[in-house]
Symmetry: C2
Subunit: 252 residues, 2 copies
Amino acid sequence: MTGELMVVGLGPGPERWLTPEAADAIARATDLVGYQPYVDRCPTRDGQVRHGSDNRVELDRARLAIDLARAGRTVAVVSGGDPGVFAMAAAVFEALEKDPASRTVAVTVMPGISAMMAAAARIGAPLGHDFCAISLSDNLKPWDLIRRRLTAAAEGDFVIALYNPASKARPDRIFEAFDLLRSLKAAEAPVAFARAVGRPDERVILTTLGAADPAVVDMATCVIIGSSESRFVARPIGEPWLYTPRAAGARA
Amino acid sequence: MTGELMVVGLGPGPERWLTPEAADAIARATDLVGYQPYVDRCPTRDGQVRHGSDNRVELDRARLAIDLARAGRTVAVVSGGDPGVFAMAAAVFEALEKDPASRTVAVTVMPGISAMMAAAARIGAPLGHDFCAISLSDNLKPWDLIRRRLTAAAEGDFVIALYNPASKARPDRIFEAFDLLRSLKAAEAPVAFARAVGRPDERVILTTLGAADPAVVDMATCVIIGSSESRFVARPIGEPWLYTPRAAGARA
């Protein structure tokens, strides 16, 4: 008997951003597998088994989910945001790659609203034109590669979204990233620190690359750094909007 | 009396990917504004006014929506995918930027599942690590800037998602983009042509940069080109999965 493995994006947090597909998956799963805070987000149901785990054990978690599905269970691996963006989907396919015998399992990835999309919507349309997403976590890749990608992103004048911008183990990486970007981009480039968008502890700071203080950044923060075209639009009341126009290159 | 302007992401198409927030917005709007095929996706409701328009009139459409909201209407500007990614949100803020008097209007951007996230979920986890999104449309930016960004994306070894990869006016741009990328990246780099994912006319082709035939690409296609780490995982039955591992740089 073979079960089912669903890799489910819960979105940034609030129910209004949870897709019907994802809501259905967590309702009908026999087993929920995930980082404990994401499992905690799901409503409880009698008979459903909840396998919450610590951070940084993604591969163990993926293996557990695969084993449960192969034993006939209906498994939802729950992930914040979109599971395909710096999240659990890659860990699941890595586990499947390492164990060819497991590849008979039926896998469905269910997309979710990614943190950068929610952050962008909250502040305007900063991702309105060409952009890139870079994880600053150097647990699994060398810092030199991150530097190379930041440099290429600046060279291409992309809008840049930074995921995993700070951790307790490496709180200085965001400062190093900003130092590098300041050497490559204009000080006037708009910056948004968008923390926990859509959740009760949301906090958004709009600033510029020259004035930004990366000390405000934690792991719940999505950092967006504008291209040379990104700009603030002042409002009579309230903070400005930030957007990147559809047209580009006129100022180059 | 001031109304409300909602910029709503409908996602790639199927209802299972429409957020509750977006569903609520299109249900309570007095006016729907958008490219006709997106307006057509919304259920009809007595008394609701539907303002469908042609493609390539984004700014006119944004102005109409702003004017309606300022006249007290509850307006939903509907957009496929995520409205903040190569879609209507940037046009709305551009219109607001050009008309300071209009900036008193209440604007809410509602994120949606973007085409590249749906495409990625359908084929595995190709966006599992650092990636960039580039529109190949050169209506509003010079082709030289697109070349510069494709070059930077290759230099940074990003996974690359291409939006608007072909139009009737410029069907050759996708060929030029592939020629450029072939000169910069390995022929073995995985490529996915993911057309209309989630809709009845979905079609997915998995290939490599060396073997890819861009002639299959149309405007409904999201093109994903892997990094040096992206890889296929063969399955006993069915097409392979495509994913990009969380770890990177070991092969560099």
